[in-house]
């Protein structure tokens, strides 16, 4: 049973296309995240949702739009893909919202989606 799953695992597409990445967690967690890992392995948070409410929205181009239909799912839609969007995108989840219980909760990561924009 996969705790945090993402689809697809690999995504190759042309510049200008629109694509979506899906994420699901079966841990019963309230909080989900999207991270971007670049070619130098630098991992940066993009978004965080808590109980379907947007909590963190880092400086991300508005071509990126997260959608949380329920607290077990957090999808990432990307419009007008650019070469610089090529990266590995990780979804993660945690029990609660860090800070609510005095400390950051452990985050559980999905396997990643490698996006290549040609």
């Amino acid at each position: 049973d996969t705790a945090v799953s993402q689809t697809p695992k690999y995504l190759v597409t042309q510049m200008g296309n629109d694509k979506s990445i899906k994420c699901e967690q079966n841990l019963g967690h309230d909080t989900m995240y999207w991270y971007k890992q670049d070619s130098k392995k630098f991992l940066k948070i993009m978004f965080s949702y808590n109980n379907k409410e947007l909590i963190i929205n880092e400086t991300v181009p508005n071509r990126f739009s997260p959608k949380s239909p329920d607290k077990a799912h957090l999808n990432l839609h990307i419009n007008s893909l650019e070469l610089g969007d090529s990266a590995v995108y990780f979804c993660a989840s945690s029990q609660g919202l860090a800070g609510s219980r005095g400390g950051a909760d452990t985050q559980y990561f999905g396997p990643g989606t490698r996006l290549t924009v040609l």
Partner: protein, 113 residues
Amino acid sequence: SQQGEEDPQALSIQEGENATMNCSYKTSINNLQWYRQNSGRGLVHLILIRSNEREKHSGRLRVTLDTSKKSSSLLITASRAADTASYFCATWAGGTSYGKLTFGQGTILTVHP
């Protein structure tokens, strides 16, 4: 700018040796976490140390935290080939930063059998 920076960027050792990785950060933190990433996989949480703690152990892992120097170290004792992975430190600033972990660039550890 990047919060956590790891040192060394790459470490190559023989099985059975100890591996030490360091992490430095810039701003005050509430806690610091270490994660492992195997090639082509997501990150796996290893250990969390709070700002009021100086040392923590978990199995073959030992983490230290020096808030005056804004640095942490991860020691893996008696390393195994299966420990080969990238290791990242991540800091949480506390307060209203909620779930925002700030990651370092990682140390690539290679353990030769």
